[in-house]
Symmetry: none
Subunit: 134 residues, 4 copies
DNA sequence: GTGGTCTAGACCACG
DNA sequence: GTGGTCTAGACCACC
């Protein structure tokens, strides 16, 4: 279910974090669902249990998943995010970087905005585009 | 001119790369303009010359700047980017990550698209918005 | 009567121990009173009997409750605690940790002392505040 | 400087976290001061570098320390804590547990309040007792 | 069975 | 020299 690229520069544990966030956003994992055990996921990803553990720990810190002692790890009930200005700042920095990268690949605003929409659709279907006629 | 945050998790040399790309996109640096020497920039940024060197090397690898033996480093003439599928893939991965982060910050598609447009305007004025009525 | 939070990081058996201590301090359970059987309590708390068993064992080790063969488990007669230096040391360590946590939450001494008093009142009414005019 | 009890049930990495918080509160470590490197501290504590790393990572998450790439780890400038209700709740739970423990050691409110004050003085001198005559 | 902690030892990017 | 990541393998508390 989760794709790991061992050659990527983004750490494996972070790829797992991203992968799980993605599965949740795609509704493949729903609140209350049990995640594979650390060992299980480690063996399916052919990675080290510690690495999976680190990913789970980070997701738990973000309140995205929660562990029930001795029972396993589960997707949390939908939570209400609190918007922190400082995080938004880092989001804008990321956006800026993407714009710069795109520019030097010959991708202009219209095309990038399109890529953004495409990614959204790919991630969560068209359901998010409430304000538009598609 | 370039803002370095020593506490940031993005490497300093990359912050320099981003900073220079940004200056070029903003037309503060134009093709043919001379960049400060490695030592000069290192001292104005109070950073290690090796770090600046690495940034320049990366920019040169991208053909964004070029060094003329004994004369210095200059912004390259406007170049025709070739779109490489593999790079586009990484761009989409970055977009995906941003979408996920935004989602868990309570930021939906409309708002994120808005932030993207804002970042564009901040970087290069409205000149890029050719196709729209603003 | 006892509140169990499966998501908490404190073990369930310990939450039970705390809960029973609390009931006793609040005089809801008095010396001589019979506790529910292990199975009974396990089913009301929807937890594992082994877990309740462990809690009872710990409470018995502390002489707070006692089991009478074939009759059940009972709250012990008021006991005369012996102050053990080593336990006081661990109490002070706990206090130290609380002070540090509080400090990094922006809570100063006065406020923390106040919270302590509040917790006391909540646990046992004002009866303990003999030396003060409240 | 930091005392590690390998036999304690609180994890080593957490003892390190507590120890460093304590050193800061005692003004033995001040904002801007450099912490020993991970390897250094690991060797002085005769523990594993990973364990120290975990402690540092947690302290960084709390904004108490920060790492400068390639330079080391430093105590952050004094930060403004934001009070979160949920954290206060957990603080009160901790207080409740302490009260119960103390009660079964024969320690009443007055004595516990006294221990609290003592711990404060030990940690930060009397400077915090602004509102009292000592 | 579950996750959490720890060790020993290795490699890498960064400055 | 700095911290960050990863592996392999072990032990433990909890349910």
């Amino acid at each position: 279910m989760i794709n790991i690229d061992a050659r990527s520069s983004t750490p494996i544990y972070e790829q797992i974090v991203i992968g799980i966030k993605e599965l949740i956003l795609k509704n493949i994992l729903s609140p209350g669902d049990k995640l594979p055990s650390v060992r299980e996921m480690a063996s399916t990803l052919t990675t080290n249990p510690n690495t999976v553990s680190k990913a789970y720990a980070e997701l738990e810190r973000m309140r995205i998943i929660e562990t029930l002692r001795g029972k396993g790890t589960f997707v949390s009930a939908a939570f209400t995010p609190k918007i922190e200005d400082e995080k938004i700042q880092s989001l804008q920095d990321d956006l800026k970087k993407i714009i710069l990268d795109a520019h030097y690949m010959g991708i202009d605003y219209d095309k990038l905005a399109d890529l953004l929409k495409q990614s959204y659709i790919e991630l969560s279907g068209k359901k998010f585009l409430r304000g538009e006629q598609n």
